[in-house]
Symmetry: C2
Subunit: 218 residues, 2 copies
Amino acid sequence: MAKSDKRQLIMQAAERLFTNRRFHEVTTDDVAREAGVGKGTLYQYFHDKDDLFFETANSGFDEMCDLLRRKVPETAPFGEQLLGACMEISSFFGRRRKLLRMMQSEEARLSVFNGPLHQRWMDKRKTLISALAAIVARGVEQGQVRPDVPTEVLASFLLGMLRTRAADLHDADEQFRKYEWVVELFRHGAAGNGQSHLDTVAGDASAGPTAPEAPGHG
Amino acid sequence: MAKSDKRQLIMQAAERLFTNRRFHEVTTDDVAREAGVGKGTLYQYFHDKDDLFFETANSGFDEMCDLLRRKVPETAPFGEQLLGACMEISSFFGRRRKLLRMMQSEEARLSVFNGPLHQRWMDKRKTLISALAAIVARGVEQGQVRPDVPTEVLASFLLGMLRTRAADLHDADEQFRKYEWVVELFRHGAAGNGQSHLDTVAGDASAGPTAPEAPGHG
DNA sequence: TCTATAATACTGACCAGTCAGTATTGAAGG
DNA sequence: CCTTCAATACTGACTGGTCAGTATTATAGA
């Protein structure tokens, strides 16, 4: 087994555990057992328990950036890109809801300090925001997005809305949990125009973002 | 000293510590010392360390609901209420940024489980959302908000946008951190109308007349 | 042989919660 | 006023268990 494989293996095990219990409720023995490796091996790949936790939480950004890069067609028109990106992120948040929680929790913690970890976290985050901002920028070029707000700011709000959809609307009417609503509200706001842009979508149940948790762990 | 005073005292000390370090990095000895009480006293007012943490994080909702109730005029027109509510919440998130983080972190944790604490948390949260939803409902009545999305859903997105503003836009251009932008984007979306509603805020807006503006918050 | 690993034993720091004892309060009686 | 007493609030040293990280040994593959 290659080195990187084993590192992956450990992080996956860590994710299964850390997403279901708090940091101090998961022991390194637990992680080693779950991963099927010796306890000492953890320390070959990670400096300490904190490092393992951080790396695990941090990995979510890489995965999202990957998704956007692979799944969103680079040359599509703005509307299509926006919808595609939101679909991918929504789907990710749905599949990996617990990882999202773990990321939120870690981000909340790190934001209090100014250490090197905070910097690394913000860099990763910025990469994701930039990817979204690039799409928004196309919207500006094509005259579909207001040019008077920085694209990064709009991208932050968009990501925030997707987060809200995934995290806070779990009990809301399924219809309004659809990611298309996020796009609709992001583009046209709550005032709307008295006419939903989602006529073709409202009754359609094909969207996937409400799928059950992927890395389930009893 | 009355009983409730001491309880307050302990929670304030707990907030100071828990907002700067993680749960497992704060000892009950720390809290007792910070509060200036004996360790045993903690256990007179809180069942255990978890209880103390929960109560402390949870208190933020009460404070926000209080603010909305006291500061937002009940009979004002929709636009004014919306702006007022956003100002109060933004201000709260600014003043108590670390408590916001603590709340996020706790919410992230609780959402993984289905215990009674989760229920209590969600109830408190719902109270806040309902208060916002009531304002949004006035907007619907007055024809200023689209009637095809439940007010609670819109309220969730609004709260999410305020959260994004407070938590994620800390490095953004100060101009776009103004809570008025949240209101603007919430109402009219990223597509805008090619004309900012925030003439006094948007630096490049060529339109002259100034809109009435609430004072900036600290 | 050499390297990476699993398995597991070990240790020393750490800490939540307890409880026996102390301080404070307030009421009742003189 | 002072004293006594009971009830309540409070304290902090102590304990028993926990656990991160290290050391050791044995094994397997290159």
